[in-house]
């Protein structure tokens, strides 16, 4: 089903935003700073992707779940959303873990 992967990514990103809003993890903590981290992160990983494609390491497989829109040869539109999800998940996890680790560190020091 074409578009299935994009739909899955958008649902996941929405879930990340809900968690972010609920626990004030990333954008809900410092929106501009978060946007800057996301922008640099996505560009960094996109360069990595393009290099991997150029070296012939990975490419789009025989599938029927992509929308068909390409950003570059072998780089589907979905890759942009995948990288957004990777970066958002990472920073939400970091935002969630930090207070827990902080408490654990302070307990051990006191």
């Amino acid at each position: 089903m074409p578009g299935l992967y994009l739909a899955g990514l958008l649902v996941s990103l929405t879930g990340m935003a809900v968690l972010d809003a609920r626990f004030r993890l990333f954008f809900w903590r410092a929106p501009w700073r978060a946007a800057a981290v996301m922008a640099v992160g996505v560009v960094f990983f996109m360069v990595w992707d393009v290099a991997g494609v150029a070296l012939g390491i990975f490419f789009i497989g025989e599938q029927d779940v992509l929308s068909g829109v390409l950003l570059a040869p072998e780089v589907p539109l979905e890759e942009l959303f995948f990288l957004l999800l990777l970066c958002y998940s990472t920073m939400n996890l970091v935002g969630f873990a930090r207070p827990l680790v902080t408490r654990a560190v302070d307990r051990r020091r006191s």
């Binding site: 992967y5 004030r24 809900w28 903590r29 410092a30 700073r33 978060a34 800057a36 981290v37 640099v40 992160g41 960094f44 990983f45 990595w48 290099a51 991997g52 070296l55 012939g56 390491i57 990975f58 490419f59 789009i60 497989g61 025989e62 599938q63 779940v65 992509l66 589907p76 979905e78 990777l86 970066c87 998940s89 990472t90 920073m91 996890l93 970091v94 969630f96 873990a97 930090r98 207070p99 827990l100 680790v101 902080t102 654990a104 560190v105 302070d106 020091r109």
Partner: protein, 144 residues
Amino acid sequence: MTGAATYALLALPFFAVVAVVGVIAGVVAARRARAAGRSVSRGRRIALGTGLVAGVALLVMTIVFDNVIVTLRVVAYDPSRISGATIGAIPVEDLAYSIAAVVLLPALWVLFDRSGRRPAPERAPVSERATLPELPSAESEPNP
């Protein structure tokens, strides 16, 4: 560049960039902590611990997610350019993205922090050693 190590070698320049950004963020965080009279070692421990906890969770999530998209054949690999070591359906090299993300992104988060801008602090002593990025702890940041 071809051969079974291609995918693994591709990660090296990106890991190098991540390491440099991580070290710079660590130095900046340590300098800020000193200027504010906070403990540098506590900040470092929190940063490393947070990276470890978030990193393990991210790796588990990545393994699940990538297995789904590789099984759906959204992405396919040239078998002659990967090591052949796999976790389920995915090449282990795939995990390099997550490892890079969990160091690079929190480091950028530290570097993009403009909240505590004060008059430039005294130059840190030359003996200052590089540390890993300090993630701002909950109490070190004013609530928005």
